[in-house]
Symmetry: C2
Subunit: 419 residues, 2 copies
């Protein structure tokens, strides 16, 4: 019998305990032995969680319990769970976590500590979709060329509603908060940080890249308007928040931002709160993984799958997929060197000579225009909606500064990258 | 160092050898050790395969070679490879195969022989998509409610072309044969047998069901016409060949046939030669896996992933996902008891009283009509295009026999199930 201790019995922790009980028949048949939750740690012992497991408010009760084989960390935060899982690993307990922030910062230290003991984290990326499993084991024969993922259900829900129902950004944000899809402070989701944490985890498995959130390009969806979405639709694109990892020679670019994606791409067809991750391998080509990226039961499904894996075989795979570093190690590409096509929306006062001055700035920065539309915005202003050919990020950023300084430009241009 | 012997060095076998060489850097970093192909078995030693591995035409050279750790079986067929892999397992060699026919017939005998040694078969279902991995490990916490898969790229290519370009069945079959997507004798693909083999493998992992092809409902796409596709489109459906497994209480229904699927379902959006499998778990909800279901490199990507798994950890998971049978074992539902909605196309002579006689047969068989369209087919015949509410398979089959006997019905009605 395998005994589990859950540190942090909130929505996901409660689901983990319930799944282990509800599905005990199939779980014990698959794992070859019974798996039970021995105890759980909560902050507030007085709250009824409808569970018949022993609860405590002291992590030591789990960490010092020699009967507990697997510690499930669902506390949230970064440094506090880091200390807790280090102690668990050092005392020989396997660890399962859903904590993406912990991994975004400390995955390499944890991989070293977990050299000979299982540390699993399937639920940390894309909730119920077994993407860690697919990337680390299923596609291990490949050099990974790219990963493009819808990794944040809140943003995808908002973008879908804006696209399909014409709802404005502020209204759909409010609705998402009321539905519980977005937090009261939505920055972590709509600012792209949540997706960035997940992207960093996948990038380690695909490329062995040790980057932290502050090292990579992270933007959110806050500046996407109805106008941008209408332009996208007209030209055959959808707008999604994507996490992107792409190999270019010995460099890997990592970035999170809103994207215009061609409507016929599978990833553009993923709507609502669902997540989806497209992975291109040099041998297999494109594979894509779709499913629920959040929710107590979906996330707990991944946590319990990890527990079953550990019950079956202990440690079977190196935590981050690499048993030793690759020769010819890959490095992170500087943000300025990233190449992309770009969409720009520039609000200008409606007067003579505007276009000439703006297109001159494009030319000065070596940026070639692919399409341009001018649309009236108000009585005496217009929006220029422009898509470019492939250009360097540093050139676009430089040009945007230049455009914003023009006296007939009414606000900082909005830029959305295209894939 | 892990040494591999490949039995059957055709398209996939050549790709396996090439991947192990081309991607040796990333493979050895992930596996923690070098993996090399020591030798391969071919029928014709004179054919140049552009490989620098030792070739032989005698399987004993691999089976009796004590240096070989892993036997890769890519011979094709059923009984001959069965004997070969049994010998390999008995001599303590791990086995990797892409052979779905072998598994459709002998997976339980093989699972018993492979109790303590690795036997892996990721490539046998949906080529490069790691669906065995996802179902057996990633979703192991769930009771699987259903599996619906596009598991045959040839059929999906043909259906897509018929839908998008209005190509007729015979023309697209010819084109598929010229492109190498379909065999000279296409029955195995278009008759649904290939998909059935794959479905049986997935059903064992999901449900522990020991069924053989002859036990389940298998139909192909041979009777689907432009008219059916036009009807489907008009009512918001796509037509695909699906493998379906569905749990209903303690019974599991297994079936392969063409289906009308609502266009908004993710699985309806999978076009061309690509495969896609939707799995619904009781806890995780729907997840979907998309990618190339065939092709030398894509299939070999899955074979090599299995080799890496074995190099990493030997045997880590029970071959068919169950370490012991589940209590309350599931059984196969009798075909007649399957419930579905149905679409029917009935070609009738255009005369008075026809509709009354046909609708009477629907009533007699307890089948309720949802929509009906009548369209002229020739100068004096018409097609009745009918969709039903949920009905039993035995009732539909019975009614079709009755309809076919009516003197004004010009040919056996075409029936396509709806999901």
């Amino acid at each position: 019998m395998i005994k589990v201790g859950i540190i942090g019995v909130g929505t996901v922790g409660t689901s983990v305990a319930n799944i282990l009980k509800d599905n005990a028949d199939v779980i014990s048949a698959r794992a070859g032995q019974e798996i039970v939750v021995k105890s759980g740690v909560v902050k507030n012992l007085n709250k009824d969680r409808g569970l018949d497991i022993k609860l405590t408010d002291n992590v030591d009760d789990i960490l010092n319990d020699s009967e507990i084989d697997i510690v499930v960390e669902l506390m949230g935060g970064v440094e506090e769970p880091f200390e807790v899982v280090k102690r668990a690993l050092k005392s020989g307990k396997a660890v399962v976590t859903a904590n993406k922030a912990l991994l975004a910062y400390h995955r390499y230290e944890l991989a070293r500590l977990a050299k000979d003991i299982a540390f699993e984290y399937e639920a940390s990326v894309a909730g119920g979709i077994p993407i860690i499993n697919a990337l680390r084991d299923g596609l291990s024969a490949n050099h990974i060329e790219s990963i493009m993922g819808i990794m944040n259900g809140t943003c995808n829900y908002m973008m879908t509603k804006m696209t399909n129902e014409g709802v404005a950004y502020d209204d759909i944000l409010k609705e998402s908060q009321e539905l519980g899809y977005a937090e009261a402070d939505p920055t972590f989701d709509v600012g792209g940080y949540d997706a960035a944490h997940k992207l960093l985890i996948l990038a380690s498995i695909a490329y062995g890249i040790d980057a932290k959130p502050e090292d990579i390009l992270i933007e959110g969806i806050e500046n996407v308007t109805q106008e941008d979405i209408a332009f996208a639709k007209e030209f055959g694109y959808a707008i999604k928040l994507l996490g992107i990892a792409k190999k270019d020679g010995n460099e890997v670019e990592l970035r999170v931002h809103a994207c215009l994606i061609k409507q016929e791409e599978m990833i553009a067809k993923i709507d609502g709160v669902m997540n989806g991750i497209s992975v291109v391998g040099d041998k297999v080509g494109e594979t894509l993984y779709y499913g629920p990226g959040a929710g107590g039961d979906a996330t707990a499904s991944a946590v319990v799958a990890n527990i079953i894996d550990i019950a079956r075989s202990g440690k079977s795979t190196p935590m981050l997929g690499f048993d030793k570093p690759m020769e010819g190690k890959l490095t992170l590409k500087a943000t300025g060197n990233i190449e992309s096509k770009y969409y720009l929306r520039i609000n200008v006062s409606d007067r003579a000579g505007v276009l000439a001055k703006i297109t001159k700035l494009f030319e000065d920065n070596n940026i070639s225009i692919e399409t341009m539309l001018q649309r009236p915005a108000s009585e005496n202003s217009a929006n220029l909606l422009i898509s470019t050919h492939t250009a360097f990020e540093r050139d676009i950023q430089n040009m945007i500064v230049g455009i914003a300084l023009l006296e007939f430009v009414n606000s900082t241009p909005v830029m959305i990258r295209m894939v």
